[in-house]
């Protein structure tokens, strides 16, 4: 039954890669800056999902820590960019 898990992990990884591609196209094409920031937000979520899928496929728990760090820093990046778009500066005096 391991082939089932292997091929469903492959399918999920292909779906995540296509989703990453869609977010990249929106990042390059997006007419407004907030579209690009939203695409960046989606891109880090998709990268986190790709890492979790690789962790399931290889049966290793090291990918989980990388995914947690990506989640933390992706949030910091998206929130800082959105705050910059909102106010014009990130940390207000």
């Amino acid at each position: 039954m391991n082939a089932l898990l292997y091929w469903s992990a492959i399918f999920a990884l292909c779906c995540f890669a296509l989703a990453f591609l869609c977010a990249t196209v929106r990042l390059l094409r997006g007419p407004t800056p907030q579209d690009r920031v939203l695409a960046l937000d989606t891109m880090y979520i998709n990268g986190l999902l790709i890492l979790l899928g690789l962790g399931i496929q290889f049966g290793s728990s090291a990918y989980f820590d990388i995914a947690l760090i990506i989640g933390l820093f992706g949030f910091v990046g998206s929130a800082a960019l959105a705050k910059f778009l909102l106010r014009g500066e990130v940390i207000e005096p």
Binding site: N2, A12, Q34, V37, L38, T42, L52, F64, A82, L86
Partner: protein
């Protein structure tokens, strides 16, 4: 990882396939919608259900590998549930600030 039990493999596979399809749907919505206010809600599908399903699959697989209950993957779900509304609220405020048109239109 060669002899995983059947009760872990089949739900994990179903959860993996559902997670992939939901995330792909959300990102295609991000690509295809016309305006920023429509695009805002599409990737939240991948944010919430995609991450939750793949983390449940990861919990099942690593519990079956180690022979005990491993739930530290749920930390990522908790982090994203706390964190993604903050980003959404900030982005929506930025969009409303930068785009003074009416947010509701006929598309």
């Amino acid at each position: 990882m060669n002899t995983l039990p059947l009760w872990a493999v089949i739900p994990a596979s179903i959860l993996l396939i559902l997670s992939g399809l939901l995330t792909l749907t959300g990102s295609i919505g991000l690509l295809r919608f016309k305006r920023f206010y429509s695009r805002m809600h599409a990737p939240t599908l991948g944010n919430t259900l995609g991450v939750a399903f793949i983390l449940l699959a990861s919990v099942l697989v690593s519990s079956a590998i180690e022979g005990r209950l491993v739930i530290h993957q749920l930390l990522i779900t908790f982090l994203l549930v706390v964190v993604s509304p903050v980003t959404a609220i900030l982005l929506m405020q930025a969009g409303l600030r930068r785009d003074p048109r009416r947010p509701v239109s006929d598309d």
